[in-house]
Amino acid sequence: MSEAGTTGRRWHDMGGDAAGPVPGDEHDFALWEKRVDALMILASGAGHFTVDGLRRALEDMGEAAFEEMSYYERWIAAVNQNLLEGGVYSIEELGRKMAEVQARGDSYGTVQDG
């Protein structure tokens, strides 16, 4: 059983755990990542959710997401979760919009509308 299942301690609450050397690599952020960051700041600034709502969604995504998805992949998932919960748009609207975006092209650069 996971630690959460025996003690209640959650995966993100990792202070004090044993772990390997701190990785040294760094990377600059891609445009789509910067846009995710901007959407978080603007949508939360407009009162649609809070930074705590973002964190809660990230935590609830679980440890597998932390290991398998990139930082801003997790962020857009968490931003979307909060916007759906806040009723800013519906699941159906998102589904149709994503399908429309995916039909525009094969790369991030070609699917921009305008």
């Binding site: 901007a38 919009k97 650069g109």
Partner: protein, 214 residues
Amino acid sequence: MPHDHHHHEGTSPSGHPYRADQDGPLTYWQAMEVAVRELLVEKGVVTADQVQRQIEAMDARSPADGAAFVARTWTDPDFAALARRDATAACREMGFDPGTMRLIAVENDEGTHNVVVCTLCSCYPRNLLGLPPDWYKSREYRSRTVREPRAVLREFGLDLPEGTTVRVHDSTADMRYVVIPRRPDGTDGWEADLLAALVTRDSMIGTGVARVPS
């Protein structure tokens, strides 16, 4: 309506080369970003222009802002006093927009070395230093810094003297932290601009110290 794709190979419809990150196959999460952004524009929550300006504002922030902040604490006693009392106000005084960030400055001295971590997520003084480096967000840094800070600092090439006390700051809630490193010896009379060049990003997180002038 899909865009016309019959433009020159390697250039976008606007004629500029694609950034590397726009060339690869569109991922599910990138498609979600485009969809969420367009829905937010359609719903009137944000404008495309706001998104662009927010990116530009974030891109304009960098450790150079923090370095200027630190150098001023070294050269302006009134500013240093303000930074100790209310670092958010000191940010504003420097002309840096703290936004919603509330800042505490923790100061190294002869016997004290401060280091900042966020064990629960990756809180960082982004409005002063820009976005955090990847390692700051890593499991390794988040897990170990509160338990064996000296071992972590040694990995960054920082071997602290015996007599130094380490103060770790776990950024758990509403405050963000910037470390004011010690002013290097041999810099008496230096102007703030010259001093700022000695202040590294890592020295303001606490995983480094200010450069010693060569």
